[in-house]
């Protein structure tokens, strides 16, 4: 009874607010189905770590530091990069690069739509963040949770909580964020542009060689990106080699599920009131949104620029699918294409640009690590 009373006395409004935020994340995960696999563990973890004297995180008790299991997970899983890297293996096993082989030009949209990352780095420095913090905030624009976590865990561990929330929430909000930006930058006529079909089959050998050569090339051009790109491509090689179907399935399902679960609840370690309830958190959430808007604008404007030179015009909306949020972004573009013209089927092209975005975001993460010191 005494312990119960003393714990109650330790609860402050900050603890209660953080628990309410945890509850909100669970609500968004369960009721709105916004990235439930990550937001639900993150939300529940937020509640766990904000209970006073919680044994889930490190505590000073009687002058001695007692280790908490989530803090141990954080040190072993996040600070060593093990969990983000394992999730890249799983994602690699889920990606089908064959749409890119049908329309290789769309690879460039995966570059243009990373504009939001770098513009947001610039914007964040204007708001007084250090370059490393700004880089970690900018990478929210990769629209790729694991890349955001990977970069933030190296450059700004104290911001990992809000950055993860922004990255995953905005990924789930792509169907709400992208359409107004696209409509603002395109005309109805442009949205009606049809891009035909490109049904050519792709060689299995080519798809197997692709991840191996990409890894080697990346290693030669930017060694800092090898861990990110290499493990993504390792997962893809397992998928494409054709002789490891069981491992491929395990990576896509069991590995992805277990690591996502651990990742969500482990990041909650950074969701304590003292780390989260700062004015910088709101700024980070605002700038994450800005990054997604700049990404979308970058992709659309690049497509419009290309159309100045191309004989067979590209539907500029395809540029917006060059972000990593797969397959949400491709679906959004396909739906908008159908709204503009019921016979305009953009899905295959949008998926190609979206796959390019998955490569682009990982490469951008590697470049950020190489460029920011």
């Amino acid at each position: 009874m005494n312990l119960f009373t003393s714990v109650l006395q330790l609860i402050t409004w900050k603890h209660l607010l953080m628990m309410a935020i945890g509850g909100l994340l669970i609500y968004l995960a369960v009721h709105k189905e916004y990235e439930p696999a990550i937001l639900l563990p993150l939300g529940f973890g937020t509640i766990i770590v904000n209970l006073p004297l919680s044994s889930a995180i490190d505590q000073m008790l009687g002058g001695q530091e007692v280790e908490g299991v989530l803090s141990v997970f954080f040190r072993v899983g996040i600070l060593t990069d093990i969990l983000p890297i394992l999730i890249f293996v799983a994602i690699g096993a889920m990606i089908d690069f064959s749409p890119l082989f049908r329309k290789p030009m769309l690879l460039f949209f995966g570059a243009a739509a990373q504009l939001g990352i770098f513009l947001t780095v610039l914007a964040a420095t204007l708001f007084g963040f250090t370059l490393k913090e700004a880089a970690s905030i900018g990478i929210i624009g990769a629209a790729d949770g694991p890349t955001s976590i990977y970069v933030a865990s190296r450059f700004a561990r104290h911001l990992l909580g809000p950055i993860s929330i922004a990255a995953y929430s905005y990924m789930a909000l792509v169907p709400i964020i992208q359409p107004p930006v696209i409509k603002l930058l395109t005309t109805q006529t442009e949205r009606r542009i049809s891009m035909g079909t490109s049904p050519a089959r792709v060689s299995r050998t080519a798809l197997t060689l692709f991840p191996i050569i990409i890894t080697i090339l990346t290693g030669l051009i930017a060694p800092t990106a090898v861990a990110l790109v290499g493990f993504l491509m390792f997962g893809n090689l397992i998928r494409e080699c054709g002789v490891l179907n069981r491992l491929s399935q395990a990576a896509q399902n069991e590995l992805a599920n277990i690591v996502t679960l651990l990742l969500g609840i482990t990041i909650a370690t950074t969701m304590t009131a003292d780390k989260f309830l700062r004015s910088s958190t709101l700024l980070i959430l605002a700038m994450g949104l800005l990054a997604f808007i700049f990404d979308t604008a970058g992709g659309v404007l690049f497509a419009k620029f290309l159309n100045l030179f191309l004989k067979n015009k590209v539907n500029p909306m395809i540029g917006a699918a060059g972000i990593s949020a797969f397959p949400m972004s491709a679906r959004v573009i396909h739906k908008m294409g159908l709204e503009a013209d019921p016979n305009n089927f953009l899905l295959m092209h949008a998926v190609s640009a979206n796959v390019a975005g998955q490569i682009g975001s990982v490469v951008a993460g590697g470049l950020i690590l190489a460029l920011v010191h």
Binding site: F101, F108, A111, T125, S203, I214, V363, L367
Partner: protein, 43 residues
């Protein structure tokens, strides 16, 4: 100090976008080369 930070961030923007387009250009060449491999016959 603030100006120096802005200069560094601008360099990250320029080098980052340049770098990512350079990467994609290399990947684009690779994909074109790999597309030359004919698809295997279906069994």
């Amino acid at each position: 100090m603030h100006f120096e930070l802005l200069r560094q961030a601008s360099l990250v923007l320029l080098k980052g976008m340049g770098g990512i387009f350079a990467f994609m250009a290399v990947f684009w060449l690779l994909v074109h080369a790999l597309r030359r491999i004919p698809p295997e016959k279906e069994k």
